[in-house]
Each structure stands twice: as C-alpha cells, then as structure tokens.
C-alpha cells in the first residue's frame, strides 16, 4: 500500500509562508491532480512530497512510512519534470537506466527493465539516440520511462505536458491515462490545464494561495463546487458570474434587465447582494428587446461563442451550437433553467445551497 498522506504540511521560505498546513490523503493507485492558479503552490507541494523541498513543518507519509525528512532517493517516488530534465549527454537508454545504475543494480537487470519500459512507451527505436535528436513528445516519453524504470510506488508529474504543442498534448494525455491504468501506481499530477485535470483525475485538489479550496472528483467539482473560486476555475469557458440581489424566494439580476431567478437554496435576507453563476453552455439566446446586446460572435465551426454586452458592463459568454439568427449588435434575450444557476455569497464567495 502506498498512498500519500500529508498532515498539516507547511512550507516557509524565510518569512513568507507558501503552503499553509495542507491535510490530504491520496489513496493507493489513485490519480490525483493538483490544480490552481499560477503561484498557488502546486509545484511546491509536489516537490515537498518528492523531498526536493524541505518540509518546514508537518508530516508527509508515503505508504505508512514517515518520509518527511527522508532523502528524495529513498522515498520510493519518481518524478517527471515539466522540462523533462533529461541528461543531454546520455542516450535514451542511459537516461532511463541512470537511476538503477546509481543504485548499483546489475547491468543485465538494467537492460531488461529499460527494455520493458521502452516497450510500454514505444521507445524501442530511439534507445540509442541522445535527447537532442528526439521530438518533444518523445522526450516526454523518455522522462516518463525514466520514472517507470525505477518501479516507484508513487509517480509525481509537474506539468509534464505544458511544453508540448496542442496536438501532442492530447496524445500524451491519453497515453498517461493508459499508463495509469496499466501500472496502477499512485500518481500525483500538477497542471494548470483544465482539460488534463478533468480527464485524468480520480481526484482533483484545487489549491489557492497555499490552501486547499476543494477536493473531489472531476464531475463532483464541476457539478457541485463549494465556492465561487472552484466554480469559476473548473469548466471551460468558465462560468459567467453576475451580481444579483435577493428578492423574495429568488434573486434579481440587474445585468440582465432585472431578470428574476427563483431558487430554493438558502439565500440571505432580501436586499442582500449575492453572486449568481451560470455556465455558458446552459444559456440560450433569442432575439429580444432589452438592453443586453450581442457583441462579438466567434464561430469555431461546430460551436460559437457569443460575447454579450450587458448594461452593467458585466460580460456574459454564451456557448451556442448550430446557426443562430441573432446578428452581432442586436439586442438579445437571455434565458437559462433556474436549476442550472448557482448562488454564492457575495462576500465569502461560499456556495449557497
């Protein structure tokens, strides 16, 4: 069993605290993704698990061993870096076998295990090449191969795909998903790419400023975010947020010509401000006569994004399929099902349920 457990993990650089007491349990075999805006501490947290950054306080356990102060090499982990960090002067085979060689594994066994990994990753033809002679995707595969070869209990990935171009990224994403299925090891994966997070994760950890905002399955987070931050962060294009005012059993939305949306969530007192959120997919447009007009329309073939100009200046994006008769610049009517709307406290940004 080799899950990873963090108990009140804290990281300080001198005075500045970067990670604020993270408690987290990742089960054996789970694929856990850390997401969050740039600088929120994803990499730091991952590197603390790897042992590349010292943990200022708290405990990190891998399996049942406390590894908080252990050497990186002793933690039974392998890491794939964003930059791949391949040794440029070694061939692919040497790169993959380096860790074993350093640990005194016999030559024959190294060859065998490298062969195994290269088979899994379809790298057989490149074993004698230097990294320079490989494409980005191949390098990435070598980096993963190097991790696999050592047979670690936990794989750590730090934005492994962000240096690849869009197409390759999709392929490698699928590859990593397959790999996880095949090996079944615990994987912790840092990304800022939503799609990767949504498609790969068993469990997503949303971080903000060194604090966990929410932990859950991808669809769990998408469908049932705990707060405005998570709601806005998960889903693409991101959720539209508008200011609203509580009125009776619903809210009034000034941006949409004081449209009233009824809801049965626990709203604050009448007259209080709340934030309402609706996903672009859940909005439909029709010709209208209010103050909301259709700004720019972006056609992407199968789907189009309409940018609405509202009277309050809040921008609303609507995803639509198929052709629409509404012309750019014309007034539109916005409608959505009340159950598709989410409500958030205007101050704390917590979800109102």
């Amino acid at each position: 069993m080799s899950g990873v457990t963090l108990k009140n993990a804290i990281k300080r650089y001198g005075e500045t605290q970067v990670i604020h007491g993270i408690d987290l349990t990742i089960d054996h075999g789970e694929f856990c993704v850390f997401v969050g805006p740039s600088g929120c501490g994803k990499s730091t947290l991952l590197r603390m698990i790897a042992g590349l950054e010292e943990t200022t306080d708290g405990v990190i356990e891998i399996g049942s061993r406390d590894v908080t102060r252990a050497d990186p090499a002793e933690r039974g982990i392998a890491m794939v870096f964003q930059t791949y960090a391949l040794y440029p002067h070694m061939t692919v085979a040497e790169n993959m076998g380096f860790g074993l060689k350093m640990n005194g594994v016999a030559k024959a066994e190294i060859t065998e295990r490298v062969g195994e990994a290269s088979r899994i990753l379809k790298l057989d033809d490149y074993l004698e090449r230097k990294p320079k002679a490989l494409s980005g995707g191949q390098r990435q595969r070598v980096a993963i191969g190097r991790a696999i070869v050592r047979g670690p209990e936990v794989f750590l990935f730090d934005e492994p795909l962000s240096n690849l171009d869009a197409e390759l990224r999709v392929d490698m994403r699928v590859e990593i998903a397959r790999l996880h299925k095949e090996i079944g090891a615990t994987m912790i994966y840092v990304t800022h790419d939503q799609v990767e997070a949504m498609t790969l994760a068993d469990k997503i950890v949303v971080l903000r400023a060194g604090v966990i905002e929410q932990v859950g399955s991808p669809l769990g987070l998408y469908n049932d975010p705990d707060n405005k931050f998570v709601a806005g962060f998960i889903g693409s294009p991101s959720m539209n947020f508008m200011e609203a005012v509580v009125e009776g059993a619903g809210v009034r939305i000034p941006a949409l010509d004081d449209m009233i949306v009824a809801t049965d969530v626990a709203l604050p007192a009448a007259g209080q401000p709340v934030t309402i959120g609706v996903r672009p997919q859940n909005i439909t447009l029709s010709a209208g006569d209010g103050t909301t007009t259709l700004g720019l329309r972006e056609h992407l073939g199968g789907v189009a994004y309409d940018y609405l100009d509202t009277k309050t200046g809040e921008r609303v994006i609507v995803e639509s399929r198929g052709e629409s008769e509404v012309k750019s610049g014309a007034p539109v009517k916005v409608s959505f099902a009340a159950e598709d709307a989410m409500f958030f406290d205007a101050k704390t940004e917590a979800r109102l349920r």
Binding site: L52, A73, A85, G99, R146
Partner: protein, 329 residues
C-alpha cells in the same frame, strides 16, 4: 538621352540594390585594416623571415642586412639542444598547467555556496588573475628566495639556528641547505609553473563558477531522485553540463601555457644553466632581441614552430566554433 538616363539610373540603383552587400564592408574596413597591418601581414613576414639570417640591423641607409639561407634555420633548430629544452619545457608547462583545470573546478565547487559575503570571497579568490604576470613573477620570485623570501624564512625557522658570525652579525647556520628553487635546473621550471598556475587556477575557477551558475537545476534534482550523490553526481551529471566551461578552460590554459613568457622573463630569464627554464616564447625573444640575441631569422623560425603548435589548437577551436555556428543556424 535615354541611354545616359538608364546609365545613371542603373548606377544609382546598383549602390541601392547592393546596399546590404556594401554596408558590412564599410563597417568592417577599419578593424580589418588594423588587424591586417598588425597581425595578419606580420605573421607571413615572420614566416618569410625565418628563411633568412639577419642580425636585425639595418645599415645606416636603412637597408636590411638580411641574407637568404633557406631552411637552414630549421636545420639548426633541429640540432639545437636549447630549442629542445624549450620545447620539452613547453610540454611540461602544458601538462602541469592542465592542473589549473581540475584545481579551478575544485575551488569553484568549494565556493559555489551562498553564504553572507560570498561575492566578496569569490572576487578575492579571483584576484591573482587580475594582477600582471610581472607582478606575480616578482611575488613568487621573492616568495622562493632562499635568503629573503618566504620559503627561505620558513626553512630557516625549521632547519636553521640563528647564530652570530665572525664579525658579530646575526646569521643562520642550517642543518640542510635552503632549497633554491629558481636556481635548480630540476625544479626551477616547476617553480615558475607553480607561480603561473596561481592566476590560471583563478581563471579556471571563474569559468567554472559561471558554468555552475548555468547548471540545469532540474537535472540535478532528477539525479537526486535517481540517487546520485557526491562524486557520482559530479561525474555523471554536473561535469557533462560543464563541458563548455571545461573546453574553454582547457583552451585558455593551453594558450596560457604556450604563451608563457612574462614569468620566465621575470623569474629566471631562462636560466639557470643552459636555458633550463627556457620556453619557446622566451627563447624566441632571447634569440631575436635580447642582449646576446640578434638572430632575427633564427628567432622567427622558433616563433614559426610555436605558431605551428598553436595552430593545432586554433584549428580545433575554430572547428568547434564552426560546428556551433552550423548548429545555431
């Protein structure tokens, strides 16, 4: 009229059309002129002069007194033991000087830490390189001096006792004679090289310190995960990344070794004995223009040999550079 028209037009447009061809030459001209006059042409003159015998004098009318001797100078070189001594010394310089590379690396590794005041330490360590070789030569010459120098003083402190001599002055009676490094045919060359190593190590150190700055941290981290430590880390991961620094360190060290002149001139003047610390650079100077020299043709022949040796390195360097250029574009 039409003919002249097109004529002037094509004239104007020639300059214009070839603007990008002509401009670089305008920019290059001054440097090229200077360089040609002082460097390129003299090289060939030297090669040519090595085929003459000349005592460097012009007669009162300014005509050279040189006499064509063909390859005689080279034939003489072949049979000249001082030339061979110099050549062997140059080889010793080359080999010993190479110590500067690992030594520089070692110091660089030692200093590659961030503690308060490190910048100052680093620059103080670099100090010897900035100082003129003449000064370094004087310093070490004095350092080695058996009577007044540090070596002498230390030796006296250990092996000698202070007594009073016949006229009542203080003197030293030593159980073993003070080593006189610069007067020993065996050790003088090494003494000079040691002095030369001092600034050279500092140079290599700086090169390596900069190289270490650029070592990819992700590779180091990957290697740490791979369990590489200490020497293994250095050998397998760090050194390969320091290859450019090593290359340059070797190049400048080779050049330094082959160019060694100042130190020899200052510390021993080629002596003791029959040029036992001579090197080609100094022997050439000595032969051509020192007090007992006046053999310009012969000196040029020595310079030519030195040039030929250096040419091997220059070619290698240019080859490397050419590869880089090709790769870069």
């Amino acid at each position: 009229m039409a003919v002249t028209d097109t004529g002037t037009q094509s004239k104007q447009s020639w300059l214009k059309r070839n603007k990008l061809t002509v401009t670089p030459w305008v920019f290059l001209a001054p440097a090229l002129c200077f360089f040609a006059i002082y460097v390129v042409i003299p090289i060939f003159e030297s090669l040519w002069l090595s085929l003459y015998e000349w005592n460097g004098l012009y007669d009162a009318d300014g005509n050279s007194t040189a006499v064509w001797v063909g390859f005689d100078n080279y034939v003489k070189l072949w049979g000249d033991p001082k030339f061979w001594t110099s050549l062997v010394n140059n080889v010793i310089w080359l080999v010993m000087f190479m110590l500067a590379v690992p030594a520089g690396l070692f110091i660089a590794l030692f200093l590659n830490q961030s503690v308060p005041g490190m910048r100052l330490y680093k620059s103080l360590f670099f100090f010897p390189f900035v100082i003129s070789q003449v000064v370094v030569g004087l310093i070490f010459g004095w350092f080695y001096n058996p009577d007044f120098g540090v070596v002498g003083s230390l030796w006296k402190a250990v092996y000698c006792e202070e007594t009073v001599n016949i006229v009542g002055n203080l003197t030293f009676r030593c159980s073993a004679p003070v080593p006189d490094i610069l007067s020993s045919e065996t050790w003088a060359t090494y003494g000079i090289i040691l002095a030369g190593l001092w600034p050279q190590i500092a140079y290599c150190m700086i090169l390596y310190l900069t190289g270490l700055n650029n070592v990819a941290s992700d590779q180091i981290e990957a290697a740490r995960l791979d369990g590489a430590k200490g020497w293994k880390m250095l050998w397998y991961v760090v050194l390969p990344q320091l290859r450019p620094a090593t290359f340059i360190a070797v190049v400048v060290t080779v050049i330094g070794a082959l160019r060694s002149f100042d130190m020899v001139a200052i510390m021993t003047g080629g002596g003791p004995g029959e040029g036992s610390t001579n090197v080609l650079a100094y022997y050439m100077y000595e032969t051509a223009i020192s007090e007992y020299g006046e053999r310009y043709g012969y000196g040029s022949a020595i310079a030519t040999v030195l040039f030929a040796i250096m040419l091997v390195y220059i070619s290698y360097f240019l080859h490397r550079m050419y590869q880089d250029e090709k790769g870069g574009h």
